[in-house]
């Protein structure tokens, strides 16, 4: 499976122009920033605020925009037409994902700056953010593949919002519902754990488990999304 950077770049530029002119979707970019501005006035020492904003931003930015990009191409049959050009699956996915990645990274950078979060280990923090963006982009790809129109995409995203951003809250109910223990292994909960590791007296050992679990999610979901993408397009 080869990637042609030239073709991927063409898709990147095309999607960038399409996306920035589609105000209904691109307005979502400001949403995490507004959220961050709102929460800034809250006592910054409250743990978990940053994690909540991040988790929401991932779903809104990476997941939703990627789902919209793919669903819109499907809606207009341009994806099918694109498959008949020399552009391969990887070109298309790479071009689109890199656009979503860049946008997410920039907005999350701004959010982190506004909230004034100081990571315990800058490298581990960057790594976990990058992995999460890729992971949620893959989820977005899957959502996009299962929806035929942009409207459907915004609906299929709802369960994702519910499960992923709700998971950290669900873990609070573990005592009543032991089944909720599963939620601890969701990447969003792991992100909360990761961010809760405090500056004072942390060891690398505390940071590694969340990082590894997130990595596992990323790898699995990326593979699933690529395989599904090829399958779904053949079916149609």
């Amino acid at each position: 499976m080869s990637i042609s950077l030239k073709r991927a770049r063409a898709i990147f530029v095309k999607d960038y122009k399409e996306f920035t002119r589609n105000y209904a979707v691109s307005i979502m970019l400001i949403f995490p920033i507004i959220l961050a501005l709102l929460f800034r006035s809250v006592d910054p020492s409250v743990p978990g605020i940053f994690a909540v904003v991040l988790n929401l931003s991932f779903v809104i930015l990476s997941c939703f925009t990627q789902a919209c990009l793919i669903a819109e191409e499907k809606e207009r049959n341009t994806l099918r037409s694109l498959m008949m050009t020399p552009a391969t699956t990887m070109d298309v996915l790479f071009g689109k994902s890199s656009l979503v990645f860049v946008m997410s990274a920039v907005v999350l950078g701004i959010v982190t700056y506004i909230l004034g979060y100081e990571p315990t280990s800058i490298w581990a923090f960057v790594a976990v953010i990058i992995l999460s963006i890729i992971l949620y982009t893959a989820v977005g790809t899957i959502c996009g593949l299962f929806s035929k129109t942009v409207l459907e995409a915004s609906l299929t995203i709802l369960p994702v919002i519910f499960i992923f951003t709700g998971a950290p809250w669900g873990t609070l109910l573990v005592d009543d519902f032991p089944i909720f223990k599963v939620l601890e292994y969701l990447p969003s909960t792991q992100l909360v754990y990761f961010l809760e590791v405090r500056n004072t007296g942390f060891t690398m050992g505390d940071l590694f488990p969340p990082l590894l679990i997130t990595l596992a999610w990323t790898v699995v979901l990326t593979i699933v999304s690529v395989v599904l993408y090829q399958r779904r397009l053949k079916d149609e």
Binding site: R80, M84, P86
Partner: protein, 311 residues
């Protein structure tokens, strides 16, 4: 190009079709919606066909120029955008977003995707359907240039659309797959027999359909065509078999204002609404019957027709 036979409720719906495609020749198949879909679906899994479906959409928020640039880049061609915009005659719409174009222009821009196809065979569904006259001409020019290197198959339900740019036309319907004779051969000369001058006796044209003999008054007839040697009389959208030859019919109908406009066609001039000029060498006649019928007109017959109509 080969199509497998398909059955619907035990009846042959799509016969086995073998097309000998050569480059520099485009083929048109006139058929209905369902058969069009079936034909397209048989080609989906082959990488040598570029399929352009009627429902193809476009990136609405790009400008025309951005779209062409994208298509050039994604297909890794080495053309210059400015030159292509000239070639496509889209200079004025350069900065217009696709969604702001007129629907005909938008369809035309969408159709340009076939220009960038790398596959050796292009299959187009209803390419001319939504196009206005001017865009039709532009697209016909582009298709003609493309057909120098590629094989082109056009699926349409409209004879007129097929006539625009096809060299060979077939009709596919419940009675099977038959070639239509639209070739424009000039050396084709029929022996014109001497006309019976005082022939004003009642002339009914007898036709057959489902073993019934049906008689038509000549003014009722829209046009008569010859398909693979059998004569079909078209009346009000339906067609009826006739045992006479075209030459015989021509003689009998001459006094009723009929005209042999083509080797295989006789048309009722009273029903002709429009003479359509596609290029210098291809013409057709549009009739003002209930259905939008179009009949080819030979170049050699054009002068005769003009003289007849005093134009």
């Amino acid at each position: 190009m080969q199509f497998q036979p398909m059955y619907d409720n035990g009846e042959l719906f799509l016969p086995k079709i073998e097309l000998n495609m050569t480059s520099n020749q485009s083929i048109g198949i006139i058929t209905d919606l369902k058969r069009k879909q079936l034909l397209m679906n048989q080609l989906v899994n082959y990488s040598e066909y570029y399929l352009f479906r009627a429902g193809q959409g476009e990136y609405m928020r790009l400008t025309v120029e951005e779209l062409i640039t994208f298509l050039i880049k994604v297909t890794e061609r080495n053309e210059r955008v400015a030159l292509l915009m000239d070639y496509f005659a889209l200079k004025e719409e350069r900065k217009v977003k696709i969604k702001d174009l007129s629907s005909s222009k938008r369809m035309y821009v969408t159709l340009l995707r076939v220009f960038f196809a790398h596959q050796p065979t292009l299959v187009l569904e209803e390419p001319y359907f939504y196009l206005e006259e001017q865009d039709r001409r532009h697209f016909k020019r582009i298709l003609d240039d493309l057909s120098k290197e590629k094989q082109i198959l056009i699926l349409t339900s409209n004879l007129e659309d097929a006539i625009i740019s096809c060299d060979a036309i077939y009709r596919l319907n419940e009675s099977g797959f038959h070639p239509l004779d639209i070739r424009d051969s000039e050396e084709d000369k029929q022996e014109v027999q001497k006309q019976d001058e005082a022939n004003i006796t009642l002339q009914k044209i007898s036709t057959k359909r489902n073993d019934k003999v049906i008689l038509f008054n000549p003014p009722e007839i829209d046009f008569i065509e010859s398909i693979e040697g059998s004569i079909l009389v078209h009346v009000g959208g339906g067609n009826y078999d006739c045992a006479l030859t075209l030459t015989e019919l021509e003689q009998r109908l001459l006094n009723f204002g009929f005209f042999r406009c083509h080797r295989s066609y006789i048309v009722n001039l009273q029903k002709v609404r429009e003479i359509i000029t596609w290029t210098k060498n291809s013409y057709s006649l549009r009739l003002n019957t209930g259905q939008d019928a179009v009949v080819p007109l030979s170049r050699s017959k054009l002068h005769e027709l003009k003289a007849l109509l005093n134009i």
